[in-house]
Symmetry: C2
């Protein structure tokens, strides 16, 4: 593996697929990357292995991607998109309602989002901070923004700093989710776990309330 010099890759000759045939090739490559990542981890995801698994030649890979990293970036992009869709879809129907009853669906939405592909998500998280550019951070930013917005729309909650509160909420739940997903994946379905997560969020919101005059 030639050490990736700090110099960026100045590839110019990457082609974009126009015929259905080549689009299928690209799909196969992206899918193969995800499969290898999930099944055998980051190290196993070599360009040769990806091409082999995709059933195309190594040459084809380089016709559409600058190398392994480009594949990873594309994978992250898609994965983040899928998760965003799940969360956005779930956050819609929360027009004014009792606190407890809206937190629960949101938690379950987040769990659902992380259920999209837990193992892949884990590996991507491992990759993301290293490579520049795209990353799963986008996802957290997105969710945090949504949550902050929702908090602003509920002045009755008396949240003084919606942004900070949202950030903490998202990083906290994200941390719990990822760790649990990695170490005790079954747990995540359990009633007690969901209850605990809800308690975490609700407790924090109550505690962050400006007027402590219960």
């Amino acid at each position: 593996m030639p050490a990736r010099a700090p110099t960026k890759k100045p590839k110019i000759r990457r082609r974009s697929p126009v015929q259905g045939r080549s689009q299928a090739t690209v799909e196969a490559l992206v899918t193969a990357t995800a499969q290898i990542l999930v099944a055998r981890g980051l190290e196993a995801a070599t360009t040769n292995a990806i091409a082999a698994r995709a059933g195309v030649s190594i040459g084809s890979l380089y016709q559409y991607f600058d190398g392994r990293d480009a594949l990873l970036v594309e994978l992250i992009r898609r994965h983040v998109e899928a998760m965003k869709a799940v969360v956005a879809g779930g956050l819609d129907q929360l027009e004014g309602a009792p606190l407890l009853s809206i937190v629960r669906p949101i938690i379950q939405g987040l769990i659902a989002a992380h259920r999209v592909a837990p193992r892949l998500h884990q590996v991507l998280h491992q990759v993301a901070p290293v490579r520049g550019e795209a990353s799963l951070d986008d996802f957290e930013d997105f969710v945090a923004a949504q949550v902050a917005l929702a908090l602003r729309g509920r002045p009755d909650l008396g949240i003084g700093e919606p942004e900070l509160t949202a950030r903490i909420l998202v990083t906290a739940t994200g941390g719990v989710m990822r760790t649990t997903l990695r170490r005790e994946p079954e747990q995540i379905r359990s009633e007690a776990f969901v209850d605990a997560m809800v308690a975490l969020v609700v407790g924090f919101l109550r505690e962050s309330s400006v007027d402590v005059t219960e």
Copy 2:
């Protein structure tokens, strides 16, 4: 880089250092590994690079370590130990006292623990889930156990499930800590951040209380 076959390394000939000279060599190697990790990331930490930076020959490296992974494992071991010491030292003096006043020092203890070597910690976290054996999970287990114990010792808090509560608490704060450390390192010192963390913990504990009869 020969793909690491699933077969473990059956090295038998690793020597342990007895003279001061060789102990210094081992130190230099471990230190060099940490430095490279922090400065240039995991990929740059090749055996040759480590040996070079340590100012010893590649042969010496293999006299005491089975390869790069062994160095990483040793690094993790030491790092976890250092963090444990910080936390253990801080958790001692919390004999019966008002909730708020003991949570704050604990949070600050955790922050201090993560301050031991944030960047290194980040890289190690990236490594740990992949390699088998040792990992930073030990640290979280340790802290969770400590916290669960502390919760049991305070029946007045009315925590029904100390273990689950402790787990959530640790994964949540850990998640917030790591994400913040990675994305907004300055934040971690801010008063507002510490306040928010405390609110997170206290809110959760209050919410988890069995008797909601405030």
